[in-house]
């Protein structure tokens, strides 16, 4: 059974997303809405990871050390100026996709497994991951024209 493997992947992805939201909140604290919202959404991912941990322990017989730290390849420290915000939101969006897909895969398995507790965790967390994605997408759409066409 590879469920433990995937739960590990999910747990790690939520942790990376937690840190990434915090990183963006700190880096862009001059953008008041970015700072506040990224802190809030970071807390969501922290909570999700907490919900996942017991299942990682429960299904831990075969845990993989994946994924590589995706975050290392994202969020280049060198980014400066107005493009940095757009690129950082872009990378956050990519990370939420990783988390979203993990939840989808695990939810499929959970339905077949009939683990009611894990099913409840999926039902709670997955829509919130979707809401993280939607906020990022909206903010990216708003920032894109001004950043690409007007800002220096």
């Amino acid at each position: 059974m590879h469920l433990g493997n995937y739960l590990g992947l999910l747990e790690s992805s939520e942790q990376q997303l937690t840190k990434a939201f915090e990183h963006v909140a700190r880096k862009h604290r001059d953008e008041p809405d970015i700072e506040q919202m990224c802190r809030k959404l970071s807390a969501w991912s922290r909570e999700h990871r907490g919900r996942v941990l017991p299942f990682v322990a429960k299904y831990s017989e075969e845990k993989s050390d994946e994924p590589k730290d995706l975050r290392r390849d994202l969020f280049s420290e060198k980014r400066r100026g107005s493009l940095a915000l757009l690129r950082d939101l872009h990378d956050l969006w990519l990370l939420t996709q990783e988390v979203q897909l993990c939840w989808t895969v695990i939810r499929q398995a959970t339905l077949a497994l009939r683990d009611e507790d894990l099913k409840a965790a999926c039902a709670y967390c997955q829509p919130r991951t979707q809401r993280q994605t939607e906020w990022l997408l909206g903010r990216i759409k708003q920032a894109a024209p001004q950043t690409l066409l007007v800002a220096e």
Partner: protein
């Protein structure tokens, strides 16, 4: 010379007790006998009282209420009776000014407009029209806003147009869109004439809309008086009349409202037929409010459980209910979420769309309704949906431009983001009209810095050299109310005409003429090469707006200058179906939520993310109202060891906005000449502060100093009025503007800034 009541001493005037038909009482104040009267309506709050302007020898000499008007039945408040004096003020701007070598010096209109147009063209060439932003007002007329909306959206094609209405009324619009599909108040002021109960949430009506409050006082003095539930952390004039007054801690509105909703459900005081047939979202709402027991509400908000139950009993058993909401909700943490919960109270009870039932998501300014309707703020004209291509095509056809000329790739930029783009340098020209952000925006130190920034051309269009105009590069002198003709709409959808009574001073021009001049000089054209803006007079602009509004909820097509001038205020929608206007929207409980018709596809109340068209269509409410639930969230800044007190801001009855007009009316200025710091007796004792002592209030962002006023407020909370800036102060006096202290952050949905909470510390400075 007539003054038939002293509105300074007796703000609301003598009682005319009633039930059913509000008696007339004509208030009048003139300083000389007018040689003629000119029809108008008051612009010193969002109430929109019909009035006539008295004119003698080409000067305004007074006003009187219009007895025939449905809004005020002849009454006027202290601001209305006195505020007109500002028109005659000797310090009116009478000529354009241009900054040369650091000094603002007089210039001709040709020089000022020539410079503005040359700079606009240069910026468009180098940086696209997205380098130009507009920060307009809630004080102009329909004709001004619509012209501005068209020149911005279809002429320049910039998404950056919003107004100070973002500070006062954005949450009203957002909450109405969320619950009912589009903006527009469901009820009328006349619902107060018979209603059994009134719920006022964060709305100090007695000070804000004094004439509307008079209507309630007259009901309270008559047979079958309504019961009043007031939610406000201060013991305001309004709260003093309450049957039940709930005084929650700052930032806890959602918890109180969820507690009330829970009690309504638990007590069985909900209309299950209505909920089943006319709403969506009930189950989720039940789930969300379930944990807010009276005890839990008391622990968090400080509102005693028994009082919450008493309030719920009134709200649950009244057969008719008028609910009103204002800045105490809009400018607090979770503004939109809380405003929507007030809608939910009326919806759970099915009390909407009929006599005695209203939800008034109040406006702060006299014409902010029109900023929203006409597309001069972050909305599209006619309550159209920026995310619905069919709505964009309608506008493109109407204006005869290519649809992609109209910015619709994202929601129109909200004011707080416009200021942020100015700060980061991507907006390089900011045109401010009829508002004074250097006093009214949050965190004033930041606003001054932005306006002083090199590389930002600041254009200010105003009647006075305000704190903001003093920082401008170009100042355009504008005509005031009474010096130009136009129409505007109050909170309860009543449209008034205000005729030109006198000439503006010097070279001051009507805002409408300034916008037209800009459009002509910029040579904005439609697809066929004809001038984009096809009107030359306010009346022609009104006709164009009628065409734009036709078929939308705010349908003006049955109105005309002639009709408005023949009678008095008329409500929209006014069309073939409702030739005399409609007192209620949604009489059949069919709401404007159809996917093809709605103004917004909705929001996530927590993140503010907009729902996608696909997601909305998949669950099209199709005419049902939406019960959207929200759970309580902790405010972002809370008192701590360094800043141990809560801070909130608000108004005094004698002033409006930043006192630009009311500070120039002698009696109003004398009645409230100075800012103050209000604090509870307990806190005053702790800090050894006596009445009148100078108190410095400090936050992480700045300081403000004013004399102490003790009492009438919850312990732990400090209040300052937001009206007072540097104007009228001695040069060496310490800053006294409340907004030196406030936070730069905003509601995720409506983007309205949070003026109603911050953490501060205080100290006595005249020891």
């Amino acid at each position: 010379m007539t003054e038939n009541r002293d509105s300074i001493l007796d703000i609301w005037g003598p009682r005319t007790p009633y039930f059913g038909e509000w008696p007339e009482r004509v208030d009048e104040r003139t300083t000389e006998e007018p040689d003629h009267w000119v029809q108008s309506a008051c612009v010193l709050c969002s109430n929109g009282c019909g009035c006539d302007i008295g004119v003698k020898d080409g000067r305004i000499v007074g006003v009187r209420g219009r007895a025939v008007d449905r809004v005020n039945h002849g009454r006027l408040g202290p601001k209305g009776l006195h505020g007109w004096e500002a028109n005659n003020s000797p310090d009116r701007l009478t000529t354009p000014l241009i900054r040369r070598n650091g000094q603002l010096v007089p210039a001709t209109w040709d020089e000022a407009m020539g410079l503005l147009v040359a700079k606009s063209k240069e910026l468009i060439e180098q940086h696209t029209s997205s380098s130009i932003g507009f920060y307009t007002s809630g004080q102009l007329f329909i004709e001004d806003y619509y012209t501005l909306g068209v020149l911005g959206k279809a002429g320049l094609g910039t998404p950056h147009m919003d107004g100070n209405t973002r500070l006062c009324t954005a949450t009203a619009g957002a909450a109405l869109k969320i619950s009912f599909g589009t903006d527009g108040q469901a009820g009328s002021y006349a619902d107060l004439d018979t209603t059994e109960a009134v719920l006022l949430v964060g709305h100090n009506m007695a000070s804000q809309q004094t004439v509307l409050w008079t209507r309630i006082l007259d009901r309270l003095a008559g047979p079958n008086p309504p019961r009043l539930v007031v939610i406000d952390p201060r013991r305001t004039f309004t709260a003093e009349q309450a049957t039940v007054h709930l005084a929650p801690r700052a930032g806890t509105n959602v918890a109180v409202l969820n507690g009330l909703l829970r009690l309504l459900i638990e007590n069985g005081h909900v209309d299950y037929d209505f909920i089943e047939n006319h709403t969506v979202g009930f189950e989720e709402l039940v789930k969300t409010v379930g944990k807010w027991t009276p005890e839990r509400v008391e622990a968090l908000t400080g509102v005693p459980a028994g009082q919450l139950q008493a309030a719920a009993q009134i709200l649950g058993t009244c057969r008719t209910l008028v609910s009103t909401v204002l800045q105490g909700v809009y400018q607090s943490m979770q503004g939109t979420a809380a405003a929507v919960q007030v809608n939910n109270i009326n919806l759970l009870r099915g009390l909407i769309g009929s006599e005695g039932n209203a939800i008034l998501q109040m406006n702060g300014q006299p014409t902010s309704q029109n900023t929203r309707e006409c597309g001069a703020d972050g909305d599209l004209p006619g309550f159209r949906n920026w995310d619905n291509p069919a709505h964009i095509y309608e506008l493109a056809r109407l204006w005869n431009v290519h649809p992609d000329k109209i910015p619709h790739w994202a929601p129109p930029t909200h004011a707080m983001q416009i200021w942020r783009y100015c700060e980061t340098g991507s907006i390089k020209l900011l045109w401010i009209q009829a508002t004074n952000p250097v006093v009214s925006m949050p965190e004033l130190g930041r606003i001054r810095k932005i306006l002083e920034q090199k590389g930002l051309l600041v254009v200010v269009q105003d009647a006075f050299l305000t704190e903001t105009a003093q920082l401008a590069d170009i100042v355009l002198p504008a005509a005031l109310w009474g010096e130009k003709t136009g129409t505007f709409t109050n909170t309860d959808r009543t449209v008034h005409i205000s005729h030109k009574a006198v000439e503006p001073p010097g070279q001051a021009r009507a805002d409408f003429d300034i916008f037209l001049d800009y459009a002509r000089r910029m040579d904005f054209r439609d697809q066929d090469g004809a001038p984009l803006i096809k009107w030359d007079t306010p009346e022609e602009a009104f006709e164009a707006w009628k065409a734009c509004s036709k078929g939308r909820p705010c349908d003006y097509s049955g109105l005309s200058y002639a009709r408005l001038s023949a009678g008095s205020g008329i409500q929209w929608p006014c069309n073939e179906e409702h030739p005399n206007g409609a007192a209620h929207l949604y009489p059949d409980h069919q709401f404007n939520t159809h996917a093809d018709y709605c103004e917004s596809y909705g929001y996530d109340l927590v993140t503010g993310a907009e729902t996608s068209p696909e997601a909305y269509r998949a669950h099209d409410p199709n005419g049902r109202a939406r019960l959207l639930a929200a759970d309580y969230e902790v405010p972002h800044e809370q008192p701590d060891a360094d800043f141990p007190l809560w801070f909130t801001t608000g108004r005094v009855v004698y002033h409006f906005h930043t006192r630009t007009k009311t500070g120039r009316a002698r009696a109003l200025q004398q009645a409230a000449p100075e800012a103050f710091v209000q604090l509870a007796a307990e806190d005053a004792a702790r800090y050894d502060i006596a009445e009148g002592d100078l108190v410095e209030v400090a936050s992480r962002r700045g300081r403000a100093t004013a004399p102490a006023r003790i009492g009438g407020i919850e312990p732990g909370l400090v209040f300052m009025p937001f009206h007072y800036g540097a104007w009228g102060q001695a040069a060496d006096a310490p800053a006294r503007a409340a907004n030196e202290l406030t936070l730069t952050e905003w509601d995720p949905v409506s983007k309205q800034p949070h003026f109603k909470y911050a953490a501060v510390r205080i100290r006595k400075t005249n020891a």
